[in-house]
């Protein structure tokens, strides 16, 4: 049955020839400094002040005035976190299909591919942080809100399996709007798939650090994102299962100040630490050190 669907999907894909084989040919690399468009200005979402893009980038994408943490592209996250040129991307070549035959879904994906330079909302690979090896996975909320469909679920699982095979610690940076509606039940099932892979990973005594960044919501919160041995969060990130708008609609009540933000989750016992982007690399390095066989 399943193969029928797959065949239909491919038939349909053939019509979109230019997108059908649009997978990245070259793996990403982490660079020392992210590309910054020179001479551009950017406004802070929080304090509305305007800065030169360069100044924001040089401040690790943190607002120099109000300390707001800008949303990060996966490659920029990599560049902030791992030793330069240490990243070796794995798991390329996945192609997102359209199981529910939704008008416009494929062209949307193609569009995101072009805009982000990514295959999908998650990339992973081998890397080092101050010389310590790890498997790092990063979600990109610029790719369709970092939502999880079959490909993201598969790649997350693959990254867990890759870390397991290499007996390396796994660090994931989460940024997701949740499961991807457009892929229906397949998206939901990725929650079970990724969580199951982590159970195997855990049974081997390996370390999984989950870093929750803005936003971490929906199906991702209710699966791998919440299963870290250690769970870190960036300041003021929105973290929750149900979105605040839905909650407000349901309970017809204002939400408490700071509800579903990192600091709230820390207070509620859900998160180990809220870590500033300036200290994230050091903190993770320290954790990796703590978990080496010999310090």
């Amino acid at each position: 049955m399943k193969s029928d669907l797959l065949k239909q999907a491919f038939d349909k894909q053939k019509a979109f020839k230019k997108h059908a084989i649009s997978y990245r040919k070259k793996p990403l690399e982490s660079t020392k400094t992210p590309d910054v468009p020179k001479g551009l200005y950017e406004q802070c979402d929080a304090c509305k002040k305007t800065f030169m893009s360069e100044d924001i980038v040089n401040n690790r994408f943190v607002c120099p005035a109000c300390h707001h943490h800008f949303r990060l592209r996966a490659v920029d996250r990599l560049s902030l976190m791992v030793d330069s040129h240490s990243f070796i991307e794995k798991g390329l070549g996945y192609i997102t299909l359209d199981p529910l035959f939704i008008d416009g879904y494929e062209s949307k994906i193609a569009d995101y591919k072009k805009r982000t330079g990514l295959d999908e909302a998650y990339i992973y690979g081998y890397a080092q942080i101050k010389g310590l090896p790890l498997v790092i996975g990063v979600m990109d909320s610029y790719f369709m809100m970092g939502s999880m469909g079959s490909v993201v679920g598969e790649k997350v699982t693959k990254s867990i399996e890759y870390a397991m095979m290499k007996k390396l610690p796994l660090v994931m940076f989460i940024a997701s709007g949740g499961a991807r509606m457009q892929e229906g039940i397949y998206s939901l099932m990725q929650m079970a798939k990724t969580s199951g892979a982590l159970k195997k990973f855990n049974d081997q005594g390996l370390l999984f650090i989950s870093v929750l960044t803005h936003p971490t919501t929906g199906g991702v919160t209710a699966s791998f994102a919440s299963l870290g041995d250690i769970i870190l969060a960036e300041p003021k990130a929105l973290i929750g299962f149900a979105g605040p708008r839905v909650i407000k609609q349901t309970i017809k009540q204002d939400l408490p100040e700071g509800f579903q933000r990192s600091e709230f989750l820390l207070e509620k016992g859900m998160v180990d630490k809220v870590v500033d982007r300036h200290h994230m690399r050091d903190t993770i390095h320290q954790l990796l050190r703590f978990h080496q066989k010999e310090l």
Binding site: Y186, G196, S226, F241, T250
Partner: protein, 318 residues
């Protein structure tokens, strides 16, 4: 005309039948009823099934437990915060075997529905379910779960007490359970709330139940900015038992009588019982290792995607 309207017409016919004394007239109306059922009520749209899955008279978990199992003892609590009445659970026997049963419970009255929060569990409900599942594993009892929830509850308490963590923990722990888990979707299989007790070795759906990543209303309002298009969303979402079987997500479909399970609860429960018994027997010859492995592999393989031949990429990837 949706299935609810058709049901009203059928009810009228049946009421008429009851009032008749004349044998001839009775036979005639009986024939009419059968014809109506066969011609008008057999073919259902996805939306019809949504309506049946949510039918106020739909069999609840407790109804099914009562009818399918010989004995049942309800057990309560998560041992930490609260007993969540959206989850009913305990030990039951079926044809002389002890099993653990866990279900999502809808009420039949408003009062009942408020008590069980319309079958939308809070974190402590998932944790209660997990406690009972771990208990089942300790005593080597198969686990039967009965899914019927609109989904997790979007509320302040549920979020504050970590429903994301609670659902994730269940998915994680269920994946490693050494006893067979047989899940049956009774009515609504709503998103993470359903999956949190749904990671089964076998997953069955009642014919007119639904299972989806979010409600058709939610889908329509998010994707089309128009919640009133729920009917169209239901078609688009592939959320019926037949859709899910085609997608390779579920193990099988449990038949319902024409017009829905509530029209012949006993028959439906017999079908459920048959399915459960067959499934239990299937796992009798399995070792704990095989049970875990099979379940793991089932979920590991779910995904609708394609990957370019790795060999072709070899030159590119280091």
């Amino acid at each position: 005309m949706d299935i609810l309207k058709k049901e009203m017409r059928l009810n009228q016919l049946e009421a008429t039948l009851k009032e008749l004394d004349d044998v001839q007239a009775k036979a005639e109306i009986n024939e009419k009823i059968e014809a109506y059922k066969n011609n008008m009520m057999k073919k259902l749209t996805a939306w019809d099934r949504v309506l049946l899955a949510r039918h106020p008279k739909r069999l609840t978990a407790k109804d099914v437990i009562e009818c399918v199992f010989d004995e049942f003892m309800d057990l309560h609590g998560d041992r930490a915060f609260e007993d969540d009445q959206a989850i009913v659970g305990g030990i039951a026997t079926i044809e002389g075997r002890a099993v653990t049963v866990i279900g999502q419970q809808k009420g039949k009255t408003t009062e009942e529905n408020i008590a069980c929060n319309f079958a939308m569990p809070h974190p402590e409900g998932y944790r209660k379910a997990l406690r009972l599942m771990k208990q089942a594993e300790k005593f080597n009892r198969p686990i039967i779960t009965l899914i019927d929830t609109p989904g997790a509850f979007p509320g302040i308490g549920a979020e504050s007490r970590g429903q994301g963590e609670a659902i994730a923990r269940n998915l994680y722990e269920m994946s490693g359970l050494k006893v067979p888990v047989i899940a049956v979707v009774l009515g609504e299989g709503g998103s993470g709330g359903a999956l949190a007790i749904g990671v089964g070795n076998h997953v069955y759906m009642l014919e007119n139940s639904i299972y989806s990543i979010l409600s058709p209303e939610g889908y329509a309002s998010i994707l089309w900015k128009d919640a009133s298009k729920a009917k169209d969303a239901a078609e688009a979402m592939k959320l019926t038992s037949y859709d899910l079987r085609e997608q390779g997500i579920i193990t099988g479909i449990i038949k319902e009588p024409i017009g829905g399970a509530h029209r012949h609860p006993k028959n439906t429960c017999l079908n459920i019982k048959d399915t459960i018994m067959r499934s239990l027997k299937h796992f009798d010859s399995y070792s704990a290792f095989e049970i875990t492995k099979e379940r793991y592999n089932t979920y590991r393989s779910i995904g609708f995607l394609q990957r370019f031949n790795y060999e072709n990429l070899k030159g590119v990837i280091k």
